[in-house]
C-alpha cells in the first residue's frame, strides 16, 4: 500500500519543487524524471494488486482494484511520454518567444498538479475526495489552457472553467444525495467510501440513487465531453499548449469516465432497472454521432482531434452503457488504446503545427515530404484512431460492434454510420496534410518522436495480441464491472 502513497507523494513533491525552485533551463528533463519515478511506483502498485487483488488502505482512504490500477499505470505512462515530448516542444515555444520562462515554470508546476489530481481521482476511496480532486484537475489545467494569453486562449479557459465548474457542481449535488442515501442506512462518517457503498449497495434507496446518478452523469459527463455538454472541450484542447491537449484527451476524459462508471456500478448494484445503462448509451451514441459529424468542417487541426476525442469517449460511454462482459471489455480496451493513440497523435500534431507555424489545416501541407517521421507518424496514428487493424482501436471497435449487434441489433447501423462518417471526416483533412508536395518555407523542427513510436507500437501490439498480464487485468476489471468474464 505504500506504493499508493508514493504515487501521490511524488507529484506532490514535483509541485513543491517547481513552485519554489527558480525557473531553469532543464525543467523539462526534471519533469520527465518525476514522471518516470512515478511510473515505477505505479508499476510496483500494479504488481501488488495483480498478486494480492484489491488493496484497501488501513484508514480506508485509498482503494486500488483491478479497474483503477491499470488506469493508474496508464495515466503514469502517458504522463511520462507526454512529458518526454513536452520538453523539446515547450523549449521550442520558449525559443520562438511564445512563452516566457515564468510561464514555463507555471506550466511544469501545473503539470505535476494535474498528475496529482489524476492519481487522487483514481486512487481515492471517497466520493467526496474524488469530486475535490476532479475539481482540482480543472483548476490545475485552466491556467495552462490560457498559458499563451491570447484572447482565444483566455476565452477558451474561461469557458472551460465556468462550464466544468458548473457541471462538476452538479456532480457534488449527486454526491450529497448519495451521501444522504447512504446515511439512511446509518454510519455517517465513512458513508461516502466506495468500499462501504459497494457492500451495502442493495440496501440503498433506488430512487435517490437514480437521481444522484443523473447529477453525476451531468457533472462528470461535462468533463467526459458528452454532447451536449461538450462545448468547452474543443476550445480548451485547441487553445492550450499541445502537451496539455494530449494529457487532457488521454487522461482527464478517461478519469471522468472512470468516475461515471464507478457510479454506474453502484446504481446497477442498487436498482434493477438498467436506467443508468440506457442513459449512458443515449449520451454515448449522441456524442459519438455528433462528434463524428463535427469532424467534417474543422479548420483547426487540434480542434479536429479534440472532436475525435469526443467521438471516442462517446463510443466508450456507449459500450459501458451496453453493459455485459463483452462490451465492458471492449470499453476498457478502448480506453487504453484511445488514450495511447490520441496522445501520440497530439504529439505529432504539435510538431506539425510547429513545422507549419500554424494550426490551420489548410496551411499544413506535404508533411511527408517535409519531415517524414512526423508525417508518417500522423498518418499512421490517424489510421489507428480511425479504427484500422492491426491497431488496437480496431479490436475494441470490432468488439463494440459485435456486442451492439448482439444486444441491440437495431443500433448497429447507427454505430456503423458513425464510424464511417468519422473516418471520412478525419481523412478528408489528414490526407492533404500529410501528402502532396512540400510548400515553400516549411522546415523540419527538432522533434522527439519516441513517444509516438512507443505508443503506436503498443497499440499495434494490443491489436495483434493482448499480452497475458494485461488480459488478466482487463478480465478482472470486466468481472468487477459487469460481473462476468468475457466469453
Amino acid at each position: 500500500m505504500i506504493a499508493a502513497y508514493f504515487v501521490l507523494l511524488i507529484p506532490f513533491a514535483g509541485i513543491i519543487f517547481f513552485a519554489i525552485a527558480d525557473s531553469r533551463s532543464d525543467m523539462g528533463r526534471i519533469n520527465v524524471y518525476f514522471n518516470a519515478v512515478c511510473l515505477l511506483a505505479t508499476l510496483w502498485l500494479a504488481v501488488n494488486v495483480v498478486n494480492h487483488g484489491t488493496i484497501l488502505s488501513a484508514n480506508k482512504a485509498y482503494i486500488v482494484d483491478p479497474f483503477n490500477v491499470y488506469l493508474i499505470v496508464l495515466t503514469a505512462f502517458v504522463g511520462l511520454t507526454t512529458s518526454i515530448f513536452s520538453a523539446p516542444y515547450m523549449a521550442h515555444e520558449n525559443e520562438i518567444g511564445k512563452l516566457t520562462a515564468g510561464r514555463l515554470k507555471l506550466y511544469y508546476t501545473m503539470y505535476q498538479g494535474f498528475m496529482l489530481a489524476m492519481y487522487l481521482v483514481l486512487t481515492t476511496n471517497n466520493l467526496g475526495i474524488m469530486w475535490v480532486a476532479m475539481e482540482g484537475a480543472t483548476l490545475a489545467t485552466v491556467l495552462l489552457v490560457s498559458l499563451y494569453r491570447t484572447p482565444e486562449s483566455i476565452e477558451a479557459a474561461w469557458k472551460y472553467f465556468i462550464l466544468c465548474g458548473v457541471g462538476i457542481a452538479q456532480a457534488l449535488f449527486g454526491t450529497i444525495l448519495l451521501y444522504y442515501a447512504a446515511m439512511q442506512i446509518g454510519d455517517g462518517s465513512n458513508a461516502l467510501l466506495w468500499s462501504v457503498l459497494y457492500e451495502n449497495a442493495t440496501k440503498l434507496n433506488p430512487e435517490i440513487l437514480e437521481i444522484a446518478f443523473v447529477f453525476m452523469l451531468i457533472g462528470y459527463g461535462t468533463k467526459i465531453g458528452l454532447v451536449p455538454l461538450h462545448n468547452w472541450l474543443p476550445d480548451a484542447h485547441s487553445e492550450g499548449p499541445t502537451p496539455m491537449s494530449a494529457v487532457l484527451s488521454g487522461l482527464l476524459l478517461n478519469d471522468a469516465l472512470y468516475a461515471v462508471v464507478r457510479n454506474k456500478m453502484l446504481v446497477d448494484g442498487t436498482t434493477h432497472s438498467n436506467i443508468a445503462g440506457y442513459l449512458m448509451m443515449g449520451f454515448g451514441l449522441l456524442s459519438f454521432l455528433v462528434g463524428a459529424l463535427f469532424l467534417h468542417r474543422q479548420k483547426d487541426i487540434k480542434r479536429l482531434f479534440s472532436y475525435s476525442s469526443i467521438e471516442h469517449m462517446g463510443m466508450m460511454t456507449f459500450a459501458f452503457g451496453i453493459g455485459g462482459s463483452l462490451a465492458t471489455y471492449a470499453a476498457l480496451l478502448h480506453m487504453t488504446v484511445h488514450s495511447l493513440t490520441k496522445s501520440a497523435i497530439f504529439v505529432t500534431v504539435g510538431h506539425a503545427a510547429q513545422i507549419a507555424g500554424t494550426q490551420r489545416i489548410e496551411k499544413i501541407r506535404g508533411l511527408i515530404r517535409t519531415q517524414p517521421q512526423v508525417g508518417w507518424g500522423l498518418l499512421i496514428g490517424t489510421l489507428a484512431i480511425a479504427g484500422f487493424p492491426p491497431f488496437g482501436v480496431f479490436t475494441s471497435e470490432f468488439l463494440v460492434l459485435l456486442a451492439t449487434m448482439h444486444s441491440y441489433p437495431w443500433l448497429a447501423p447507427l454505430v456503423l454510420l458513425g464510424i464511417g462518417i468519422a473516418f471520412a471526416g478525419l481523412f478528408r483533412h489528414i490526407q492533404p496534410i500529410v501528402y502532396g508536395e512540400k510548400p515553400e518555407g516549411q522546415l523540419p523542427v527538432k522533434a522527439n518522436l519516441w513517444p509516438v513510436i512507443i505508443h503506436l507500437g503498443l497499440v499495434l501490439w494490443l491489436g495483434l495480441s493482448i499480452p497475458g498480464f494485461l488480459a488478466h487485468w482487463f478480465s478482472q476489471a470486466t468481472v468487477l464491472i459487469s460481473g462476468s468474464t468475457p466469453l
Binding site: 459529424l293 487493424p389 492491426p390 480496431f394 459485435l402 447501423p413 464511417g420 501528402y435 488480459a471 466469453l487
Partner: protein, 708 residues
C-alpha cells in the same frame, strides 16, 4: 508440410517488406555483415567480398531491389506450391496462432478453396516479382521512396494470403483490412498529384465501409452462435430473414471490394494511379480475394442458400458486366479501361455464382458445382490475363511515358515481343477459342443452358436473358480489345513518344508477362488441368462433384455429359494448324508471287498522315450513338472562324468527356448530405457561453424529468 509452405509464403512476403525498409540503413547492414562475418563464420571470405561489393553505395539500391523482389517471388512460389499440394491432396489443415484476443487465438484453416486462391495469388505475385525490379528502377528515391513501396507491397501480399488462411472472423477482418490499408498506401504512392490522393481517399473510404458491412455480417452470424470462429459461425441457426440480412451485408462488403456495379467507383480511380505492377496485383488478385470472401461466406458459413440471393447476384452481375465493358470501351486511358474491364469480369463471375446459388437452392447440386466451376475458372483466368494486360500497360507507360491510347500507335514494329504478349492477353480477355478466357465463358454458357431442369417460371425466363447479356458482354469485350490492340500497336505512331519508343531492355520485365501469356495459352488448350483442381475444391466445399467426372480427360471437356456438350481444345488446335498449314503451303508454292511492298493505296487518296487514323473516341462512336443512355456524354465542338464575315473555319476543337452515372445519382448526394448535416451540427457550437450553460441546464432538467 503444406501448412509450413503456406506460412513460409506469408513470412517471405513480410520479410520482403521489412528488407525494403533497410533501404536507408546501408551502413547498418554493412556493420551488421561485417560483425557477422567476423564472429559467426570467419572462413567464407568470398561471400563477404560479394556482399561488401553489393553494399557499396552505387550498387546497393539495385541489389536491395533485387533482394526484395526475390523474396516476393519466393513467397509467390511457395504460395503456388502450398495451393497445389493442398488441392491435390484434398486435405483440410487447421491450426492456431498465439495472436488475437485472449479468448480467441487466430484460427488457421487451409483447405482446397483457400488453396485454389493461394494458387491464383502465387502466380500473380510471382509474375509481378519477375517484372518488378525493372519497373521500379525509374522511381527517384527522394521523391518516391522505395522503402514504402516495398514495405507495403509485402504487407499487401501478406494480407491477402492471411485472409485466405483465416478461420475466425476477427483474424479475417484484421487480414482483410491489412490488405486494404497496404494497398491504400500503394495507391497513394505517387501522392504529389491530387488525382491520386482523391483516388486513394475514395478507395480507403469505400474499403472501410465495406469492411464494416462485413463485420456486421459476421456479427449477425455471431449473435446466433457462440464465438467468432468459423466453426461456431457454421453452427449458427438463423431464420431466413436474418440469413438474408447477413447475405446482403456480405454482398455489400465483398461486392464493394470486388467492384460490383454500382459500388465500383473506387476501382477505376484507384487502379490506374497505382504503380503498374501494383495495379496488376490489385486488379488481378485482390478482387479475387473478395470473390473468395463471398464464396466462403455464402457457401460455407451460411447454412443454406436461397435462390432469391442467386437472382440478386445474377442481376447485379449481368448489370455490372455490361456496364463495366461499356464504360471500359469509352476510356482513352489504358489503365482505366483495364480497371473497368475488371468490373466486367467480376460481373461475369458474380453472375455465374448466382446461377450456382439458384441451382444449389433448387436442389440440383451437381449443376451448382458446374456453376462454381465456371466461376472459379473464370476468376483464375481473369487473374492471368488481367495481370498480363496490366503488366503490359506498365511496359507501355515505361517506354512511351503515355497511358492515353490516342497517343500511341504503330508499336507493333517498335516492340514486337510486348505486342505479341499483349495480343495474347487481348485474345484471352475477349474470349476467343484456343485461349483460357473462352473456356470459362463456354462453361458459363453451359451452366446457363441447364435452365431446363428448373421448375420456377421466373428463373426459366430470367436465366436465358442473362445468358444473352453474357453473349453481348463477350462481343463488346472483343470490340473493346480490338480497339485497344489496334490503336496501341497497329497503325502509325500518333505521338512523338511512341515514335521514339523501343523494346524494353530488361528481359525480366518481359519474363513476367511471358509466363502469364504462356499460362493463358496452356490453360486454353488443356483446361482439364485446372478443372480437376476446382473439382476437388467443390467436392470439399459443396460435397458434390461434376456430373460427369470420368469424361474429364486431358483431351475432352464434357462437364455435363458427352451427349450434351463437349469441347476439345487440342483437337481444335491441331485442326487449326492443319488448315492454316495447308493454305499457307498452297499459296507459297509459286516463287513468283513474293510479297512486294509499296506505299499505302488508300483508295488513291494521297498524303496519309497519322492524324487521319481512327482514334479511340471515333472507333467507339457507333457504340456511343447506340447505347447513348448508358453514359453521361458531354461532347463539345468549338469552331473558330476567321476571314471576311467569318466565313472560313480556322480551327475546330473537339472534346469529349464520358462520365459515370453513379456519381451524380449516388455518391455526390451522399457527400452533399453529410456536408449539410455537418454544417447543421456546427450550429450548436455557437461560441456563446450562456448558450452552452443553457444546454447543460436543459439537459439536466430533461433528465430529472425523465427519471421521476
Amino acid at each position: 508440410m503444406i501448412l509450413f509452405s503456406a506460412y513460409l509464403a506469408v513470412l517471405l512476403s513480410f520479410a520482403s517488406g521489412l528488407l525494403a525498409l533497410t533501404v536507408n540503413q546501408r551502413h547498418l547492414l554493412q556493420t551488421l555483415c561485417n560483425y557477422s562475418f567476423s564472429t559467426l563464420f570467419k572462413n567464407q571470405s568470398q561471400h563477404k567480398a560479394w556482399i561488401d561489393k553489393n553494399l557499396e553505395l552505387q550498387r546497393f539500391p539495385a541489389f536491395l531491389r533485387q533482394g526484395v523482389f526475390i523474396l516476393l517471388g519466393l513467397s509467390g512460389l511457395f504460395a503456388v506450391i502450398a495451393g497445389l499440394t493442398v488441392l491435390i491432396s484434398k486435405q483440410v489443415i487447421t491450426d492456431q496462432l498465439p495472436l488475437g484476443l485472449p479468448w480467441l487465438p487466430w484460427h488457421i484453416r487451409f483447405d482446397c478453396l483457400s488453396g485454389f486462391f493461394f494458387l491464383i495469388i502465387g502466380i500473380g505475385v510471382f509474375a509481378v516479382s519477375l517484372y518488378g525490379p525493372g519497373y521500379v528502377r525509374t522511381y527517384k528515391e527522394h521523391q518516391h521512396p522505395f522503402a514504402s513501396l516495398g514495405l507495403f507491397t509485402g504487407l499487401f501480399v501478406a494480407g491477402m494470403l492471411l485472409v485466405l488462411l483465416s478461420d475466425d472472423a476477427f483474424m479475417f477482418m484484421i487480414a482483410w483490412e491489412l490488405m486494404s490499408v497496404a494497398s491504400y498506401f500503394l495507391v497513394a504512392f505517387q501522392h504529389e498529384n491530387s488525382a491520386n490522393r482523391r483516388a486513394a481517399f475514395l478507395y480507403l473510404l469505400m474499403a472501410e465501409v465495406g469492411a464494416l458491412a462485413i463485420i456486421l455480417a459476421f456479427g449477425v452470424l455471431a449473435s446466433f452462435s457462440d464465438g467468432f470462429t468459423f466453426n461456431a459461425l457454421r453452427e449458427s441457426k438463423l431464420s431466413v430473414t436474418w440469413s438474408s440480412i447477413a447475405f446482403v451485408l456480405a454482398l455489400l462488403g465483398f461486392g464493394m471490394k470486388a467492384g460490383i456495379a454500382p459500388i465500383h467507383v473506387w476501382l477505376p480511380e484507384a487502379h490506374p494511379v497505382a504503380p503498374s505492377h501494383i495495379s496488376a496485383l490489385m486488379s488481378g488478385v485482390m478482387l479475387k480475394v473478395a470473390v473468395y470472401g463471398l464464396i466462403r461466406f455464402c457457401f460455407d458459413l451460411l447454412s443454406e442458400v436461397q435462390w432469391q440471393w442467386g437472382v440478386v447476384l445474377l442481376i447485379l452481375g449481368s448489370l455490372s458486366a455490361l456496364a463495366g465493358i461499356l464504360y471500359a470501351m469509352m476510356q482513352p486511358n489504358l489503365k482505366r479501361l483495364l480497371a473497368y474491364s475488371s468490373v466486367e469480369n467480376i460481373g461475369i463471375i458474380f453472375m455465374v455464382l448466382g446461377l450456382t446459388m439458384i441451382f444449389m437452392a433448387t436442389g440440383h447440386p451437381q449443376l451448382g458445382v458446374l456453376g462454381l466451376l465456371a466461376a472459379l475458372f473464370h476468376a483464375f483466368n481473369h487473374a492471368l490475363f488481367k495481370n498480363l494486360l496490366f503488366l503490359g500497360a506498365g511496359i507501355l507507360q515505361h517506354q512511351t511515358h503515355e497511358l492515353n491510347i490516342d497517343m500511341m500507335g504503330g508499336l507493333i514494329k517498335k516492340m514486337p515481343q510486348t505486342s505479341l504478349l499483349f495480343l495474347v492477353g487481348c485474345m484471352s480477355i475477349s474470349s476467343l477459342p484456343l485461349f483460357n478466357g473462352f473456356v470459362s465463358e463456354w462453361l458459363a454458357f453451359q451452366t446457363a443452358l441447364q435452365v431446363d431442369v428448373l421448375d420456377n417460371g421466373v428463373l426459366r425466363s430470367l436465366i436465358p436473358v442473362a445468358a444473352a447479356a453474357l453473349a453481348l458482354t463477350a462481343a463488346l469485350a472483343a470490340a473493346c480489345f480490338v480497339k485497344v490492340f489496334g490503336l496501341i500497336f497497329l497503325g502509325q505512331p500518333r505521338s512523338h513518344h511512341s515514335e521514339k519508343a523501343h523494346e524494353v531492355q530488361n528481359k525480366f520485365m518481359l519474363a513476367g508477362p511471358a509466363l502469364l501469356a504462356g499460362l493463358c495459352f496452356f490453360i486454353g488448350i488443356f483446361p482439364s488441368t485446372i478443372i480437376h483442381l476446382i473439382n476437388n475444391t467443390s467436392e470439399q466445399l459443396l460435397g458434390q462433384t461434376l456430373p460427369n467426372v470420368n469424361a474429364l480427360s486431358w483431351l475432352w471437356l464434357a462437364p455435363v455429359s458427352a451427349q450434351q456438350a463437349s469441347y476439345s481444345p487440342p483437337l481444335v488446335l491441331i485442326a487449326a494448324l492443319i488448315a492454316a498449314g495447308i493454305c499457307y503451303s498452297y499459296f507459297r508454292r509459286n516463287p513468283l508471287t513474293t510479297v512486294r511492298t509499296a506505299p499505302t493505296w488508300d483508295c488513291g487518296f494521297g498524303g496519309l498522315t497519322p492524324r487521319m487514323q481512327y482514334t479511340s473516341s471515333s472507333f467507339t462512336m457507333p457504340f456511343r450513338r447506340i447505347f447513348a443512355k448508358v453514359w453521361i456524354v458531354d461532347e463539345q465542338i468549338s469552331k473558330e472562324t476567321k476571314g471576311a464575315m467569318n466565313q472560313e473555319v480556322a480551327s475546330v476543337h473537339y472534346q469529349l468527356q464520358v462520365h459515370d452515372h453513379s456519381w451524380p445519382h449516388i455518391y455526390t448526394p451522399i457527400a452533399q448530405g453529410v456536408n449539410d448535416l455537418a454544417r447543421q451540427v456546427g450550429r450548436i457550437q455557437t461560441g456563446n457561453i450562456r448558450t452552452y450553460l443553457g444546454y447543460s441546464f436543459v439537459t439536466l432538467i430533461l433528465l430529472l424529468w425523465l427519471i421521476s
